[in-house]
Every structure is written in C-alpha cells, then in structure tokens.
C-alpha cells in the first residue's frame, strides 16, 4: 500500500524514528513542525535549519478521544478511541502532541519516558497516511 506522510519532512523513520522540526542557528529556538522562520520575537536573525528532535521525551499529559474525528480522518467502524498524548522534549524546550501506541491509557503516568515511532494513522483510497506516534519507553539516563 502507498504510504503517505501526514506532513512531508515532519519525521524520519531511518535510521531511527524521530520528529523533525527546525532550530534557529542564532537563538536555538526549536519549532515543530519545522518553520521557515524563527518564532522568537526577540530574534532578528531568523536563520533556521531542519533539526531532528530527541527520540525520547517525558509524558506531560494525555486524553482519550471517544468520538471519531471528522474527515479527512478515516475512523474505523466501530470507532476505536484514540489516546492523544503530550510529550515534553526537555533539551528542545518543546512539547508535542500525537497519538499513543503500544499501550493503553490506563498504563500511562505523568513523567514517564515516551519514545517516537512512525506508524499509520488511517488508510484512505490514496493509501496509508503515516505519521508520528508515541509509546512508553524504557527508563534511561540520557534524556
């Protein structure tokens, strides 16, 4: 099946799955998805380049969506609730939202390590729309 990235350039699968944002060379502000400019109002250089985010972050919040989102999302019938998590990447100073995978909402706890993966969101007639998701990770000392 044709695999269509939900947003070109917003993640990589190789060598390991990670989000890709932009980082300002001057003030180091990180944006996700990548921006063509720097969102820091006090930065006038605004010299940005694509930058992969850390692979793992910490769980900052979550919610389970119990009703199907409207198109373009293609919801399975019967609908399977989607848990949306907010993951904080400390070294980038940013938190990012995305769907949970590999665990149920009842297994989540604030601050737990989460890692980025790339998986399908849904399939439509053009193919499989793929994007970033987050799943619980092993505790490690390097994040």
């Amino acid at each position: 099946m044709n695999r269509i990235p939900v947003l070109e350039g917003s993640f990589v699968s190789e060598p390991e799955p990670a989000l890709v944002g932009s980082r300002c060379r001057s003030c180091e502000t990180v944006a996700f998805p990548a921006s063509f400019t720097c969102p820091n109002p006090r930065c006038m250089d605004k010299d940005v380049a694509p930058a992969p985010l850390s692979r793992t972050g910490r769980l900052a919040s979550w919610t389970t969506v119990h009703f199907p989102p409207p198109p373009p999302f293609v919801a399975p019938d019967p609908f399977v609730p989607i848990t949306v998590v907010e993951v904080e990447f400390a070294s980038e100073g940013i938190q990012v939202v995305g769907p949970l995978t590999g665990a149920g909402a009842d297994e989540l706890r604030m601050g737990m390590p989460m890692e980025t993966v790339v998986e399908p969101y849904y399939a439509d007639r053009d193919g499989e729309v793929i994007g970033w998701k987050f799943r619980p990770a092993e505790e490690s000392n390097d994040d």
């Binding site: 939900v6 947003l7 070109e8 944002g21 944006a31 996700f32 998805p33 969102p39 820091n40 109002p41 006090r42 900052a60 919040s61 979550w62 919610t63 389970t64 969506v65 119990h66 009703f67 989102p69 409207p70 198109p71 373009p72 999302f73 989607i82 949306v84 907010e86 904080e88 990447f89 400390a90 980038e92 100073g93 940013i94 938190q95 990012v96 939202v97 995305g98 769907p99 909402a105 604030m110 969101y121 849904y122 729309v129 994007g131």
Partner: protein
C-alpha cells in the same frame, strides 16, 4: 476621549434554526438594537460585522449582505473574523471608531450558523507547499476538546482538581441557563446527571463542553454626546475594550497547533492572551478584579471556567476550584460567573458569543435580567477566548 455608551442591544435566542438564514438572524438583532436605542436605521454611522455560515473560521460571510437586506446607506462596514474571540474584536473596533471621534454611532453585529459536532476543517485547499496545520491535526485525530482536556489533566495533576469540579461548573451554569429565555439549553442538571454524560475527551464529558449553535446578537454603541442627545437611560458605559494575542513561550497547546513551549521552558504564563487582555481592560477602566460584581467568561468547557477565573485575576493559580466549592461563583454568591448560563447553556456561535456577553451585561446593569438578575450589579467584565491565542475583554459600568 469620549465615553462610549451602549445605547441599544438585540439578541436572538440560541439554538438550531434550519429555516432561518444568518442574514435574517443578523438583520433581526440589528434592527432590535437600533430600535432599543430609539434611533432610525439611517442614524447608524458605521457597522462592524462578524458573520459565519459554516462554523470554524472557514465560513466567513459579509455584513454588507445584512446591510443590503435592511437598506444600504453607504456607511463603512468592517467585516472581522478573530475566531471565537470575534465578538470582542468587533466590539473593540467599534469602541475605537467612537473614542477616536470618527463616528458617533456604530452598530456591532454577530451572526452565526454552525454545523453540528466538531468544527470541520477546510474543505477545499489552494496550492500550498504544505497542508495547513489545521488539516494535519485532524489527520492526527485531535479535535478541539482534546486540547482543553490535555490542559485539564495537567491541572488535576498540579492542584488535585477532580472530575466532580468539572461537573459542578456545568451544574452551576445549567442552573443559571434555566433562568434565561434566550438560552438554547434550559434544563437544570444534577451532579449525577453530568457525571453520567458520555466522556468526549477525558476528563471532559459531553455536558462539560459547549455545543455549536446558531445565534445572533447586536449592540449599538454611541458617543457620550450622542447618548445625552438621545436621552439614553440608564447610560451603560463601555469602560474598556481590549484585545490581546499570545506571547512567545506560552506553554498552552493552541488549537490547531501541534506543539508549544514545554512547561519547564515556558517564558510566558498559560493562556497569556487572557491575562494580557484582562490586564489591559482593568488598566483602561481604572478598575480591578475586586471591583467586579459579576463576570461573563468563555466557558467553552468546564476547564475554561476554572482557568479563566485565574487568568482574569479573580484568584491565584489553583484556587478556582475553591471559589466554586464555596459557592462564590453561583447567582447569589460573591462573584456570580456567567449569570447568563454561559456558552454551556447557549452553545458556541463564534461571531455572536462575545456580543451575547455584552447584551447580557447591559441587561444586568439596567436591572432588567429578570430571574437571573445579579442584585445591585454595577460593574462587570467579559472575556472571550479565540483559537490560536486571541482574547478580548470588555468592562461595562453603570
């Protein structure tokens, strides 16, 4: 600088009106406001209009259609869209036209027809290098209430707020809304009933999130001199009207974005736009939160009501639940919140809801709010919340 006086108001009941167009609803309230002020349609010097036909920010229509329906007079008509903060933005544009001396009477109109359920995304796209983030977030599967639920879960973690607190907000607002003949939902709910309503985006339940409604409201603002000529009695003064946007480094995840500054790295407060709009309004009016007799805030969800009590300066962070628990925010309490019943009783009508608040406050300050009257009300503040960090606050006084 002249004072700005609310000379007339008009309000359409909120609900679903499939057999009535947004033009008819807008024209109806426009004429009502003009007649309430005791003037003629041809006395209106300028119009500011917010009109939506399809909900969200995709269905903007023109107030010129309403003007054409009621009779074109050649006056300037500004059409404004600032998402759910549009009503306040419309008010501010009109306020500026009068304080600047540009016009003596400005009619503000908000009218909406909203689709059922979640506000949809853009159906047809122009050629762009990337799809808009609003499209992407729907593909990821993140409806508006999910954004609010993410913030609420953090609040629960930080302050020990409970699902019961969320339900209590609805119980209180449903009690107020039951007293308002213009509200769409006039049923009073018990705590048990709210807690038994379906979970939408946990911890937010169906009854704790406002619906999307059709609605319309209009206000005729005039200069102090014009109000005296007209004999407006009582002259309700629009003492402040502010508009603020978000600050860089705010950790609020904003609809429809996919990221925000992390809580640890945040260099601005949560809902910075609300804090700024409230501060600007208090400064403009020379008043503080302690002077307010009641408040109409954007209870788009129960989370909003708790959070806005803090961002609007009525209590410190984490203390809104305490105000709720001790009954301060109910009619008869020390700071009634949303005596109209709020958006939870009306439903969102993005253009009109900010004007609905002004109409409600005007009636309250005239002592004409009937069963939901706040006794002796003389000063009140309103605030609306718009997607992607837009907030507007108005202060009205007798």
């Amino acid at each position: 600088m002249t004072d700005v006086i609310v000379a007339g108001v008009g309000l359409h009941p909120w609900g679903k009106f499939p057999h009535k167009s947004w033009v008819e609803m807008g024209a109806e309230v426009a004429l009502e406001a003009v007649k309430d002020a005791g003037v003629e349609w041809t006395d209106v010097e300028a119009m500011v209009s917010g009109a939506m036909q399809w909900g969200g920010s995709t269905g903007m229509r023109s107030g010129n259609t309403i003007s054409a329906a009621l009779g074109e007079t050649g006056v300037p008509i500004a059409n404004i869209n600032n998402a759910c903060a549009s009503g306040g933005s419309l008010m501010r544009a009109a306020y500026a036209m009068i304080t600047s001396g540009m016009h003596d009477s400005v009619l503000v109109i908000g009218t909406d027809k909203s689709p059922k359920g979640y506000f949809p995304s853009v159906p047809v796209l122009a050629d762009e290098p990337q799809p808009p983030v609003d499209m992407v977030r729907w593909q990821v599967g993140i409806p508006n209430p999910a954004y609010w639920a993410l913030e609420m879960r953090k609040r629960m973690e930080a302050y020990g707020s409970t699902e019961e607190h969320l339900a209590k907000v609805k119980v209180k607002n449903s009690r107020h809304g039951a007293l308002n003949p213009y509200a769409r939902y006039r049923k009073e709910f018990s705590l048990e009933q709210v807690l038994a309503s379906p979970m939408v985006c946990d911890p937010l339940r169906l009854l704790e999130i406002c619906a999307t409604s059709d609605g319309a409201a209009a206000v005729l603002l005039v200069s102090d001199a014009k109000a005296r000529r007209l004999g407006v009695n009582p002259p309700i003064k629009l003492a402040a009207c502010s508009l603020a946007s978000g600050e860089f480094g705010d950790p609020t995840i904003r609809i429809p974005l996919l990221s925000a500054a992390s809580d640890d790295a945040a260099s601005a407060p949560l809902l910075s736009e609300s804090r700024l709009a409230a501060q600007m309004a208090y400064e403009q009016a020379g008043l503080g939160p302690e002077d307010m007799d009641f408040v109409e805030l954007p209870d788009n969800s129960s989370w909003h009501e708790l959070q806005y009590l803090e961002t609007m300066g009525f209590c410190d962070e984490g203390e809104a639940e305490h105000l709720l628990d001790k009954g301060a925010t109910t009619l008869g309490g020390e700071l009634p919140v949303c005596p109209s019943g709020g958006f939870s009783s009306f439903g969102e009508a993005t253009m009109a809801q900010g004007i609905l608040q002004i109409v409600e406050v005007t009636w309250q300050l005239r002592g004409a709010a009937g069963a939901r009257q706040v006794e002796g009300a003389q000063k009140a503040i309103t605030e609306v919340y718009g997607a992607q960090a837009n907030n507007s606050a108005c202060i009205l006084t007798t």
